[in-house]
Assembly symmetry: C2
Homo-oligomer: 282 residues x 2
Amino acid sequence: MLRRSERLAAMAKMLSDRPYCVLPLAEFAERFGAAKSSISEDLAIIRSVFEKMGLGRVETLAGAAGGVRYIPIVSPERILETVQTLCQELSDPKRILSGGFVYMSDITASPALMSTVGEIFATRFASVAPDVVATIETRGIPIALMTAKAFNVPLVIVRRASRATEGTVVTVNYVSGSAKRIETMSLSRRALQPGQRVLIIDDFMKAGGSARGLVDLVGELRAETVGIGVLVETDQPRQKLVREYCSLIVLDEVDVEKKLVRVRPSDWVAALSSGREQKTLH
Amino acid sequence: MLRRSERLAAMAKMLSDRPYCVLPLAEFAERFGAAKSSISEDLAIIRSVFEKMGLGRVETLAGAAGGVRYIPIVSPERILETVQTLCQELSDPKRILSGGFVYMSDITASPALMSTVGEIFATRFASVAPDVVATIETRGIPIALMTAKAFNVPLVIVRRASRATEGTVVTVNYVSGSAKRIETMSLSRRALQPGQRVLIIDDFMKAGGSARGLVDLVGELRAETVGIGVLVETDQPRQKLVREYCSLIVLDEVDVEKKLVRVRPSDWVAALSSGREQKTLH
């Protein structure tokens, strides 16, 4: 039998480890050897402190399927702070590669940073309630996985080549915006069910060719794209091959001669600081 | 100013969100407007309940670089339970694909399952203290990312083809054990520093060709492989191309005719139930 203070520490960890997962009060009551009324009081304390400290929301659900769940919500201030840190990192001229590319594999594979980015996308797309997060290999996988974790939904990885280990696959061709080449992407038939709501997450968008391909592929499997989130988009071309998407960072320019990378927070992120979007976040 | 009960909930979440990360006591004291002595008492409570409930270890580090950190430790019982669940899932005959492959992309991309597997590898390899986790694209990335997250170290993704977005790369050829073909893998020079301790994590090992290639690549960059962990290995061939590695699951046989997949917990996992290895885990 544990004291209240001990229960609070354990419950806070258990809730936040499993976002969007409904945990029955009875389970806590049994595990801690406490009355359900005590557990309810504990949850009220956790809810209040998480809110005060900007650590996310704790929701109690009534009824037969009732229980409690943790919803990760990143505050506008922390979104801004994270995006500004990323912008500063990305604008380091040492990142410029020949061909005018910017090295960002260390950032897109950083577990700590991508955890936060995943929670930012879960905050941004909370209202669309996806059943699945999808991405195309390779560099977007860590961001997409962390987004899927924050939503407690499966991740689906679309492959650039079809593999025997994927079983029957559906393949679509798409025009790679950057290389202006016809490329192929494929997904196992088993990975998506008709009618599922799919959130597409990727690390980078130039013309939007891969995002367009992903939307088409999702459609081929009779599932529905409910949102597209990318970490970095390029300012040019303005006209992307997908209409609605949300980026966190805009890459304006890479000047190899002057050793300059110009990046900035996206319009969505910038709007957070003016407070215009704060309502939709809470 | 928060009450102790509130501080405990918030601190438990903050610690467990950032495993292996040393958080100075002064930071907590400031953030919560509490005396350092109160924070110390809070931490003692969190440490004790995490231990009782098998939620991991909370360590206090003295001295100038002092503070507190959370070490994820999965108990032997929970490792067994997780591996048994995975074995049951994998032995579903519906997973058999033509060619005798077993479909496992849904498992290797499950955020909840791979979080636990990542913490299991962090438990298993705690003593080797890696600086970096490395994997080869694609299917091993979620496991490797979650392992890197549990260790609070960067993830390094080795590519099968070199990309312009990776800058200067080092490339090695290796013999793919399954296909008996010469294949190529490459890694950005920027991704690994000489002397870094690398933990290699992958989803699957047959002959061990990719693991061998990864070890060679790590060596080329004058870093050091300190451990190899794989989710599933095949029973045959017995003789792998790497000597020391740890798997969680052994795939004994896929019988396409009889619609049978035979899998079992690896020797390391099986030994946990006999209690032989429990000491090294605590």
